[in-house]
Amino acid sequence: MSPAVKLTKIDKALRAKADQSAYLAGDAKTEIRICAGTACHAFGRVALRKAVEKALAERGLTGKVAVVETGCHGFCAEGPIVVLRPQGLFYPRLKPRDIEEIIATSVVGDGIVERLLYKDPATGEPLAHEKDIPFYALQERIVLALNGSIDPYSLDDYLNHGGYAALAKVLNAADPQSVIDEVEKSGLRGRGGAGFPTGKKWRFCRANPGEKHYVICNADEGDPGAFKDRSVLEGNPHSVVEGMIIAAYAIGAGNGPVEGYVYIRHEYSLAVERLRHALAQARERNLLGDDILGSGFSFDIRINQGAGALVCGESTALMASIEGRRGMPRGGHIRSVAHGLWGQPTNLNNVESYANVPWIVNHGREAFAAKGTATSKGTKIFSLTGKVVNGGLIEVPMGATVRQVIFEIGGGTLPGREFKAVQLGGPSGGCLPASLLDEPIDFESLVAAGSMMCSGGMVVVDDTTCMVDFAKFFLKFTAGESCGKCVPCRVGTQRMLEILERISAGEATIDDVERLEPLADDIIEGSLCQLGGSAPNPVLSTLRYFRDEVMAHVVQRCCPAKVCRPLIRYTIHADACTGCHVCLGACPAAAISGERKQAHTIDQKLCTKCDTCRQLCKFDAIPVETGIFAMAEGRRQ
């Protein structure tokens, strides 16, 4: 039997088992796809689902119209999202009371409820279809391709969309070495941020002898502001499982036993649940376990949950944690591909890296290598958040510029606000100012610009964010997450933090600022792992691009963004104040006084600068002032 014949046979056998009724896209029947990602869930998708079911039951349509809860659609800012297939009608920001109208118009009839459509923020035109919306139209989705269209709980749905075809192909036609070659030549690089060539890692791991080889998926996405791995696991867990099985086959087939682990954050409860479900289903169909699909290759995956330590995203700390020790990294001179988990050769890749593998096997390395830049191939997922209109999950080809991502897909900053910077790569990355917006996104150019790809967090900040405060936030985070093993990281970050505290309190000297850079270099030099090695990055990039703002805190003792509390003062503008009593009632410190319909005043001695009054004032009567006077008054307190 030729390999090709055997392939189609196994593939057919796999697909014959799939329940065809779960797949409706080919029929004329309508599907209502409700996004069940974390953001849409929090926006109330459960109530939405109930409303849909009720409306369908009233019309006797239960069972005739499919209601599917899918993974994250990516457009989290517009949640909860409902998409009607096959028309591809896109309804954002729905309330349960809107459902009745949608069912009547778009499901029973074939009209469109224009009132509820997404409006183009630039023109105000309503856009009916997903493909017309700039947020989706400008993306190129490989990993997220099926995210909004399949039911993450259904293996059949995945199979019917061509899932596990790559695995069948690999198990039959390819010898392990050629799988590694395929991935290596595709140019896929580690999506966890470091960008190590994935195929190369597999090759090293295979070449290292051991009693057992381990294949680990790193889903410990601890960086604040990043949620791509979570969304992939929530939306399409089988793609990651498939990628891991292929990796295990490439590393372990004919090379001794292999075992898999997924190390996932405990906070991601929904992702854990869906992954667990996916693994159980895969075992049921013999996609995992002994003698996978009759190929003679055996492999299984275990889930290991983290417990809220950022450092466990570092590969050696992660392995220590699986072994039941404190998650502390070890020196980089011992390579995990030779001595990893339990001292055995171990391959560790990010969720997104594994999710790319089936696509590469299915479409060939040339198709993958055709996307992206000379050194960085394929696409990259970013979590676009912060002060941006269209926040959410986006996937763009490598080499797209930061400007395209933020202004074309993300729709730019909120109305009336000015773009200030974009923070890339979370606590290990750095801020890029407006002047670097045309920088292409690839591993090398971001590092050259003082930032990092890292976990794909992209936080846009506008003129209301103080860069000193923002850098302090990240440093506080890494200082708190330092495992404490090596001194430069444990003590050094603390010293840097103290300096930043002084700067934002208006108590720093120019010496302090000058001390920051050499101190940062020492921490980078002396730390054992990348947590310490990249911890000073946010501060360094702030000093590089926003030195003026830092110096304003030091020399003029003012905070231009009006954030640093010791340097600001809240006052009430007597002309604008209508004396409505709203701020007075809400002030937790009882610092506001005044008669009704008379201008109120703030007692500076009592004011805690909690910002409540400013947020509540409908008349913009409470401006924030900054400068040395504010500090002088702060001192007097």
């Binding site: 906070e267 967090g457 404490g484 937790p588």
Partner: protein, 276 residues
């Protein structure tokens, strides 16, 4: 004084020559040089207070933070006479004022808390954890299972895990205290988790934390005396589109919550409790 010939990567030990001096200035170099690594042990001793008692609170912090893992605290059967009165030290630690104790404060499980503070645990709930360990689950997984059963990691449970896995208690406790998600004391009825991710930070999460803290009159990480509320912060719940995000318990996620709404939320929950 400095032994330059030790050959540790050829790094100069003269502090002022070291590029890391600025970083290392928290460490007392002159003292460090008194420690002759060649002879090793016996140079570290417990410091005594004026009245002759030891100042050690057995917080195990030295063991936990040692950068080279050279300290391991263990029960030592040769010394049946303990070097100091543990019970009295514990009592002293518990009655000492804030700032006087070792700083471990409420996180300290080494000593028993005042009556009623540590509820009796139902050890039956613990059986599945032991079963899990026997089925091959790791230490961290065992902790997750324990926390699921009790809501926190009781000391008895940690002792049982240590026994079952044949590990020193210090190791088990060390791992439990390393991970921020494991709680060593019981939590209140409502656990408020304020997300401190970067998107939430720029959207004003620090103000929300402060509002909760003021309204509940407790610092972050503490539980109200009536055991109704525990205020915590989490790194990032990944719902950045909803920033600032607050998680109430395990299943309720509240988005776009300002300081004023935060205060209202606490008042509403309090009212509910009074009504119930």
């Amino acid at each position: 004084m400095a032994n330059n010939d030790s050959g540790h990567g050829g790094r100069a030990t003269q502090p002022q020559d070291s590029a890391l001096y600025e970083v290392l200035k928290g460490i007392d170099f002159e003292r460090r040089e008194l420690v002759d690594k060649g002879k090793g042990v016996g140079l570290f001793d417990l410091v005594k207070a004026r009245d002759g008692s030891y100042r050690c609170y057995s917080c195990t912090l030295c063991e936990r933070v040692c950068p080279v893992d050279c300290i391991e605290i263990d029960y030592c059967p040769e010394f049946e006479e303990l070097p100091f009165d543990v019970a009295a030290e514990r009592a002293a630690a518990l009655t000492s004022l804030p700032g006087e104790s070792c700083g471990a404060g409420a996180a300290c499980v080494m000593g028993e808390k005042p009556a009623g503070f540590m509820p009796q645990i139902d050890i039956k709930l613990f059986d599945p954890v032991i079963a899990g360990i026997r089925a091959g689950s790791g230490l961290v997984e065992a902790f997750h299972a324990t926390q699921e059963a009790f809501g926190y990691l009781p000391r008895e449970a940690l002792e049982d895990i240590a026994e079952e896995m044949k590990l020193p208690f210090s190791r088990v406790f060390g791992v439990a205290s390393f991970y921020s998600q494991f709680r060593l004391i019981p939590v209140g009825k409502h656990v408020i988790d304020v997300c401190m991710g970067s998107a939430c930070h720029v959207a004003g999460a620090p103000l929300v934390v402060e509002a909760f803290s003021q309204e509940l009159e407790i610092p972050v990480g503490a539980t109200t005396p009536d055991r109704l509320f525990t205020l915590q912060t989490v790194n990032c719940v990944g719902a950045c589109a909803l920033a600032p995000v607050v998680r109430l318990g395990d299943d309720e996620t509240l988005g776009r919550l300002g300081p004023n709404e935060a205060r209202k939320l606490v008042r509403r929950l309090r009212k509910q409790e009074v009504g119930a």
